[in-house]
């Protein structure tokens, strides 16, 4: 019987080696150029309006506008755009050289259809529905005019995120949110989505044969989706992939050095528009006290957090919240780590350890014991902050929850402190400069909506009522000063987004919104010699 067993085991070993080797030998097809992107952003359904597929389709279904390298909004599908009548009428001139991947021409009708389609069918485009009066096509100018019932200054910014759809394909689709299509999403960019395969977790984009613009050297783009960062990192190190992409995110800092050591990759470092911050429940004592907030801002060792959590890819932030990469950034005082000052400020603000148990008390004599609500990825920062606060006499309990629970608990204001991040789009939403995270009149998954100070709301409204860049600058400064004085959120660090790419290709282009994933990148990519 021993013999029989060993035969079984041997044959299993043999099969494994054969299977392993046969597939090893599959030769790379050299006739076509394929870019393989590894991404931790996974798609749940082959639905065009899936958050991540929406990002991936930015190069297949162009948006009306886009953001350039410097954060300025420029035309994309529209060669140019203009706003008139107090920002109520927006006119977009459509590039006449665009063709859908099935050969039909892109017309203003498609844009009109898309805008109305979003307004009527797509829940997250509710703002369009609320304001939209009419969309008119001006055929002679190859343009569309979008008319709103009220002024909307952020239209050009909003339209950086809406992929224009081919009317002849989508008009028959009644329920787009639940529409599933695996092959051939007709697109008008240099590439179109040719296949969304969830079983192999690959999204494939092929060259749009009717693309009239600059021709890419890339024939196929494959986006390989991974459920764990480890597997993704291993495939990158293997050289199976060409580039890493995560929407609004960086390659994990801890894995970068190893990847660079393979010699196959270079990195693009770009200051993140988003950031990591300590949010506070401003409706509760003692966080509602600006002096308290100010005092604890001195208790945090920003350099250490940046070192431990961002591994040197982070920098100590300013009191003005907004990172330098944003338009109209104002230099506000640096956030400072000064334990003595923190203690002194707390003392001055009336937080004293009256009963000598090592924990400070609020003015009404209760020990300050705070609950810090965290999603798992911020646990380490949380541990650090907990330790810092302990040093000034504040007890903190960490509660780590999954993201849905986090959302529901923070919406119910069941927390004292939380650590969360802002995304590039998030920094731009609402009245920009991160205001969308604080304005109590809003709701949303990632936002705290905990600030109802009239002064703050006024600044937001000011921003929302103008497209004039001179005025905007003033208001932006106001907002940053407000942050600096009131500290509704304390930035922990500003960080850099690192995107590793294979040295086999060069010509990567990065925009602040979508990182390297944009048409420019794929049109400019060159095989490195």
């Amino acid at each position: 019987m021993n013999k029989g067993l060993s035969i079984v085991l041997m044959s299993i070993l043999c099969i494994s080696l054969i299977v392993g080797c046969v597939n090893q030998g599959t030769p790379e097809k050299t006739t076509t150029t394929t870019i393989k992107i590894g991404s931790p952003n996974t798609i749940k359904a082959a639905n065009f309006f899936d958050t991540n597929l929406g990002v991936f389709s930015k190069i297949s279904n162009l948006t009306l506008t886009k953001m350039d390298e410097n954060g300025k909004i420029i035309g994309n599908m529209a060669t140019k755009y203009e706003a008139s009548n107090n920002d109520k009428v927006w006119k977009f001139y459509i590039n006449p050289e665009l063709y859908w991947s099935d050969g039909k021409k892109v017309t203003p009708e498609d844009v009109k259809f898309s805008v109305e389609y979003y307004a009527n069918k797509i829940p997250y485009a509710g703002w369009i529905k609320q304001r939209l009066k009419a969309v008119t096509v001006i055929p002679e100018e190859n343009a569309v005019e979008i008319l709103f019932t009220e002024p909307y200054t952020r239209t050009n910014l909003e339209f950086t995120t809406y992929n224009i759809l081919p009317k002849h394909v989508w008009e028959s689709i009644q329920d787009p949110m639940n529409y599933i299509q695996i092959d051939n999403y007709v697109g008008c960019g240099p590439f179109f989505i040719s296949n969304v395969n969830l079983d192999s977790q690959i999204v494939t984009l092929k060259k749009n044969p009717y693309w009239k613009g600059k021709q890419s050297v890339v024939d196929t783009i494959e986006i390989h989706m991974y459920k764990t960062n480890d597997a993704l990192a291993l495939d990158l190190e293997n050289g199976t992939l060409d580039v890493y992409y995560k929407y609004a995110g960086s390659y994990p800092y801890s894995n970068i050095q190893k990847l660079i050591d393979t010699g196959k990759y270079a990195t693009i470092k770009k200051m993140n528009v988003g950031l990591i911050f300590l949010g506070m429940n401003l409706q509760r004592q003692p966080m509602s006290d600006v002096n308290f907030r100010n005092a604890i801002s001195y208790a945090i060792n920003y350099d250490e957090i940046a070192k431990i959590d961002a591994l040197g890819y982070g920098t100590a932030p300013n009191r003005g919240f907004v990172p330098p990469t944003m338009e109209f950034y104002k230099e506000t005082p640096k956030l400072e780590y000064n334990l003595e000052k923190a203690k002194q400020l707390l003392n001055e603000a009336g937080y004293k350890d009256g009963n000598g148990n090592g924990i400070l008390e609020t003015t009404d004599g209760k020990d300050i014991k705070l609950i810090m609500l965290l999603r798992p990825e911020y646990v380490r920062s949380g541990e650090l902050v907990q330790d810092y606060l302990k040093k000034v006499g504040i007890e903190t309990t960490l509660k780590s929850v999954d993201s849905s629970t986090w959302i529901s608990l923070k919406d119910k204001y069941y927390y004292d402190l939380t650590i969360t991040r802002t995304t590039p789009w998030g920094m731009l939403m609402h009245a920009q400069w991160g205001s969308g995270y604080f304005d109590s009149r809003r709701t949303g998954e990632g936002v705290l909506h905990n600030l109802s100070d009239p002064e703050f709301l006024k600044i937001c409204d000011n921003i929302l009522s103008t497209t004039d860049s001179g005025k905007l600058k003033i208001y932006a400064y106001d907002l940053q000063d407000y942050y600096s004085d009131n500290l509704p959120g304390i930035t922990l660090y500003w960080n850099e987004n690192i995107t590793p790419y294979s040295k086999k290709f060069s010509g990567w282009y990065v925009d602040p919104l979508f990182g390297i994933y944009n048409t420019e990148t794929f049109l400019n990519l060159q095989k490195a010699s």
Binding site: T228, N229, D230, A233, L234, E237, P252, S254, N255, Q257, K258, E304, K307, I308, L374, P376, E377, V379, R380, G382, E383, L384, D387, T397, L398, K399, S400, V401, D402, T405
Partner: protein, 282 residues
């Protein structure tokens, strides 16, 4: 039982000494858990330079926070064993009570209790505990309670079937006829006679609980404030320990879990084999 086998059995001695290995490993870890405060080189919460590879002052280097990994590991023994023991005590107490009541009193009570047990057994436990852990927010004690309250059915079944085997034994009938109370019979007559199924089951439950705690922690649903081995592993994988080949970070907690679970299973299985009881079934 046949006399023939009885006669031969009297002569047979168990040659299984595997559990000596198990007991040695387990006692070693028990010692570590108890003496963690004395034998660990540092306080596991103190921060040194992060990501230091092993050297003479940090035998297993430091982690992403700069905590000494060896100290974390030694303190982790305490946390992991408490989870295991706590959960197992709850599960065993529940299982024994339900099993004995069901097996001793039989009848309607038995029908109902066993129906509940069967249903419990069919529920996919790991997914359920993942949900419940997410629902009630990860907390060390809570995870322990949850595992305890979900892991009793197998014990209950074994205890029930052993109880049923001996409830009609003459010695139970004779003490019953002598006028002893049910309480006395259960505690003093039945319990000592089913010890041999409870103890290995208890050991296996500890192993299973530690195993589950590690799995839950790996999904990020563990208690981040407790440095259990599962949480250490979670951070090691989350912060690039595997990718950066920092074997000193992810292997030790992994191997410790394996070793303790291994030792407990070894003890459990050896005891079960000795008593010829298969895993948990009638």
């Amino acid at each position: 039982m046949t006399h023939h086998i009885e006669e031969l059995k009297k002569y047979a001695i168990s040659k299984l000494n595997l559990n000596a290995i198990g007991i040695t490993i387990f006692l070693l870890f028990l010692f570590i858990a108890i003496a963690a405060g004395i034998i660990s080189p540092y306080n596991p919460w103190i921060r040194f330079e992060p990501y230091i590879p092993p050297n003479s002052s940090h035998f297993l280097g430091t982690n992403d926070m700069g905590n000494d990994i060896l100290s974390e590991l030694l303190f982790g023994a305490r946390v992991s064993l408490i989870v295991g023991f706590g959960a197992s005590i709850i599960a065993t107490v529940l299982g024994v009570i339900i099993g004995i009541v069901s097996g001793y009193y039989r009848g309607m009570m038995d029908e109902i209790l066993m129906a509940i047990t069967d249903i419990y057994l069919m529920i996919p436990r790991i997914p359920l505990i993942i949900i419940l852990a997410a629902l009630m927010r990860p907390n060390f004690w809570l995870i322990m309670l949850l595992i305890g309250f979900l892991w009793w059915p197998t014990t209950a079944r074994v205890v029930r079937s052993s109880t049923m085997q001996i409830r009609d034994a003459s010695f139970i009938l004779s003490v019953k006829s002598l006028g002893f109370s049910d309480k006395h019979i259960i505690l003093s007559e039945i319990l000592p006679n089913i010890n041999h199924v409870i103890i290995p089951k208890f050991m296996l439950t500890i192993a299973s609980a530690m195993f589950s705690e590690a799995s839950i922690s790996f999904l990020g649903l563990g208690d981040p404030t407790m440095k259990s081995w599962g949480m250490m592993l979670n951070f090691a994988f989350m912060k690039g320990g595997l990718i950066n080949e920092m074997w000193w970070w992810y292997l030790p907690p992994g191997l410790c879990i394996v070793a303790v679970v291994f030792s407990l299973m070894l003890i459990g299985f050896s005891l079960e084999e000795k008593e010829n009881i298969v895993l948990g079934l009638e």
